[in-house]
Amino acid sequence: MTDGTPSTTGWFAGVDPDDVDAAAERIRTGGADQPEDWPSLAVEQGFATDEDDYYDSLHEASVAAAGAGVRERELADDQQLIHAVRAMDDCERTANELAERVAEWAGSRFADSGTGVEYARELAEHQGGDPADPAEERLVALAGRVADLAEEAEDLRAFVTETTPAVAPNLAAMAGPVLAARLVALAGGLASLAKKPSGTVQVLGAEDALFAHLRGSAPSPKHGVIYTHEYVHGTHPDERGSTARALAGKLTIAARVDHYSGERKPELDAELDERIATIRARTGDDPPTSGGKNGGDGS
């Protein structure tokens, strides 16, 4: 970062005036507490011959720094996010399935056997040392794989949580990063999510129910994956259709802002909070807690 340079050091300190990359790097990663008369200092320190020369160098370096920063941020792209959130779901689902197998097998051997990923983790830790027979060796090894898969799922979740705000800042803030990533994945990308009507976003992830409805054999689904958002599942069942519609409407706008402008617009969250409070007031539910970031993550 600032590698311990004093806070009165400008971006040009110690930089070769002809080395634009080094200068750009200092602009991106450096810092100072207070501004100084940098143009005069640069001339005094021999970085520039005069003020015009200084500004020419600064222009070149600042354009290079901004370009590099933009490219780096945009590399955090939606397709990588889609792979990550799908891998996270695969790891969680597979870990749970295998944990059931471990529980069933262990039940045939140990009186105190339990269930779930947590039990598989315990089994892997405590029975690892000295297996009684070859079957137990295989069982404990399988339990270890379950624990590893569950850990990978957690790491993937952390990656998704960290990456989504860079890809879709408004959507991530409103839906929570994991639900936002799921919506992007279900739509096949941020661009296609931004082009979907709000009614489609409302039932993304409920395709089975939607097609059953279209065949005439079921009521229309009120919500798809957005059910995991606190604003939907935390609302009285009579009003969930209304909150799902309101949430889907704002999520659609958020996705469009993220795709077409990329600027953060906190007022969108606030408008949604206000709308949900109005709907919930009808059934006397508690108004939402602030922010709308308490969306579930569907685990």
């Binding site: 507490d33 100084e36 720094a65 945009e74 953060r264 906190p266 007022e267 606030a270």
Partner: protein, 212 residues
């Protein structure tokens, strides 16, 4: 009507008199020779000038622009001002801003968070004017923490967006709250609502409060 800064003129485009600066067009605005129209509906500073606010701008000053976005306004500022530092935190609009920067050798783009001036104080020199148009909560706090860049005789030209602070509160209440917070660091010179150009926006001209 106060004087316009040198480099900003009223010129006729398609039969209507409009503000204009000299420079390469940036956002599809009408042009007339080397002049290009400055649309006050798309620029809060443009609206402040159109409304005759006491911006104190004379032309040629050093400027720090917070919330530069794709460069609609900051490109006009760079046309009439001196060295202009453009701070923007979002990558996508900054990419568009880079196009406007190409033909403006004294416009410096900075991908940085206006709430964290330590990230760019090693680049930005003390300036004559800060123009702020950030759509985030805590707009007064952004102005306060960036006061370190303003020369003692400098001006802050701020557009407060009520809906960025609180969509449920009355805009007047939001503006009062923001002005109270600003008074801890600045002396307010003038305020005006930016209607009809921008709904629920307050234009503010302020100068550093030397005593604080």
């Amino acid at each position: 009507m106060t004087d316009l800064p040198t480099g900003v003129e009223r010129r006729t485009f398609d039969g209507a008199e409009r503000l204009a600066t000299r420079g390469e067009p940036v956002y599809g605005e009408p042009t007339d020779d080397e002049w290009r129209a400055w649309n006050p509906h798309r620029s809060k500073l443009g609206a402040m000038l159109e409304l005759g606010m006491e911006t104190g701008l004379a032309g040629g000053e050093t400027a720090l622009y917070l919330g530069a976005a794709a460069g609609t306004t900051v490109s006009h500022v760079a046309d009439f001002a001196g060295p202009t530092y453009a701070v923007e935190f979002a990558a996508r609009p900054l990419r568009d801003l880079l196009d406007a920067v190409e033909s403006r050798p004294r416009l410096f783009p900075l991908l940085a968070d206006a709430r964290a001036p330590e990230e760019y104080a090693h680049v930005v020199e003390p300036v004559d004017v800060i123009v702020q148009d950030v759509a985030t909560r805590g707009q007064a706090a952004v102005a306060a923490t960036n006061a370190r860049f303003l020369r003692p005789d400098g001006r802050l030209l701020l557009a407060v967006k009520a809906r960025s602070e609180d969509v449920t509160a009355a805009p007047e209440a939001v503006f009062e709250g923001a002005l109270d917070e600003l008074r801890e660091t600045y002396e307010i010179v003038e305020t005006a609502r930016l209607e009809p150009y921008h709904g629920d926006h307050l234009g503010v001209v302020a100068r550093p409060d030397i005593e604080s």
